[in-house]
Symmetry: C2
Amino acid sequence: MHGGDIYTEGILKGKALLDFSSNINPLGVPESFRENINEAINNLDKYPDIKYRKTIEYLKEYTGQSNAYFLLGNGAAELLDLSISLTKKLLLVVPSFIEYEESAKKWGCEIEYSYLLPDFTIDYKDIKNKLGKCDGLIIANPNNPNGACINTEEFLDILEFGKNNNKIIIIDEAFIEFSGIKEYSVAKYINEYPSLIIIRALTKYFALPGIRFGYAFTSNKSIYERIKQIQLPWNINCFAEVAVKHVLFDEEYIENSNKWLKEEKNYMINGLKDLSVFNKVYPTNANYILCELKEFNCNEFYDLLFKAGMLCRKCDDYVGLSDKFIRLAIKDRTSNEELLKCLRNDRTSRFSNRNERN
Amino acid sequence: MHGGDIYTEGILKGKALLDFSSNINPLGVPESFRENINEAINNLDKYPDIKYRKTIEYLKEYTGQSNAYFLLGNGAAELLDLSISLTKKLLLVVPSFIEYEESAKKWGCEIEYSYLLPDFTIDYKDIKNKLGKCDGLIIANPNNPNGACINTEEFLDILEFGKNNNKIIIIDEAFIEFSGIKEYSVAKYINEYPSLIIIRALTKYFALPGIRFGYAFTSNKSIYERIKQIQLPWNINCFAEVAVKHVLFDEEYIENSNKWLKEEKNYMINGLKDLSVFNKVYPTNANYILCELKEFNCNEFYDLLFKAGMLCRKCDDYVGLSDKFIRLAIKDRTSNEELLKCLRNDRTSRFSNRNERN
């Protein structure tokens, strides 16, 4: 699934693993959530507002999309799944997050692929051509596992085509805050292009995978109503409601996160590029880096890294990627340093064992 | 939906309403959850175990069903909905919880009704007869809105028929702890009757509607796998995981709850029976009481009670009930007393206003 299974490999066996397979902001749970958790505890014995009116107000404020329709999900997973269920033939831009395809198969959608170009940028012309034969498109911005963002100007042509031909265009912006919402999000087109549905979450940037919260917004009332109709009531827990209220407006957390990523992305990209183990280290707009291996395949690399006490994301199960690819998360300096140190030793002793070193 | 909307009518307008429409244990959130909430906070920045192995172990221990297959849901609502989705023609024992029918309609199931007898006990023969033409049955134990439990011995005949004819028998035990799990649950038949799937939650008895957690268990691997396959990964948040670990084994909470209900059920039943406003007060195995009105219809009664600062559940939208029925939750002594006091005044001043009295 999302990479190394820390439970099977680690926690349940009592091992502490350094997990570079998981793309969570290493700054961790925002203080603003911890400080206000009593608001949730005080609401535990009441059903949430079935319309989640306040939560939607906060999302409108955060996104600046006061006219859009908002849907809430038990994680972005729910909204991705239900959006995909609206399509009969779905165009996937690949390689991309594996759950899109799993969800499409579950709903009996036909699948068409548009492959990224060899440098892992988007083939806009190919998407537009193939969208003619499909009724929906899903694409992540930034994409996973390579971290490249959509060029919003080049994408306009596809949006225009989608608008004129009644296509559903699903944009997974689960990692958009790492890229910079203002510069890279497709949200600025939401009112003009009713084909668009944008899905985000608290999971990655706000480091709250345990809370299970995602949201979607669209200017298309019909898409909104079709999804709303198949959702279950009370799908959002009261802790997620309180998180939305506070963390999206936690300027200190946002500032610190952006500062961290700016520094560590450079540090990691440069560090990885210096290593002989990789053929290529791809540029990224996110908090993870796709790397092409030189000698090892991803299973060998994974095993060596695992022996050293670390996990990475093997990429051989991504459509369009071979077993020569792995993905590494950008973590805090100490962890990043440890990874780089370990990988520098690959020629002599394979990778060094972090538990022995510690 | 579940009764008076405390958000529309109350909270969002800044009014404090005494809510007799909501069937939550008035003892509130168990201390054992509050005391251990840090376990959840410490796990917020990790994805939950995708297999929820520990949570399922606790459920096996609590239910004593170590051989059954367990499914977890974002509230019982998710599991009721997915269980219903497995049927093509569903037999509903009515009146019953309205979401069963909504869910069946959503999935395009045909619906057949078996009506409770005039005294609101179950017509076992009718169920067995009609089940022949259906592939599934859903029934609540205890039932909502009347609170009567299944007679497990009389039910055996239906289970036998279900087993021999490959029917799915869904038992909603959301309120079973209020009745007494040992005496009234159908769980004791789970290994013998693979038709059975039992669904429960933390919502009502453990007073955690805000946490969104339900579970289902069955000895039928095929039912288990069919539901599992359409569920989304990571559908349970980390707070619900911690709640399961602690509240199900909180003996003090369980003891206090049972003591409260024993006392207050008698107090309320006797108090309500003394009132001239009701034609009939039905016996209950749960924490709510169905009442038949004498002069008023349920809308008039609701409005009068609302003016007095209280909410009740109108029952005119239940299949098989008229506008002469309302349902009242059993709450703590102070609240129950206040309700009874108010209703005693109905002949002279209609109902008295609690805010004026306070």
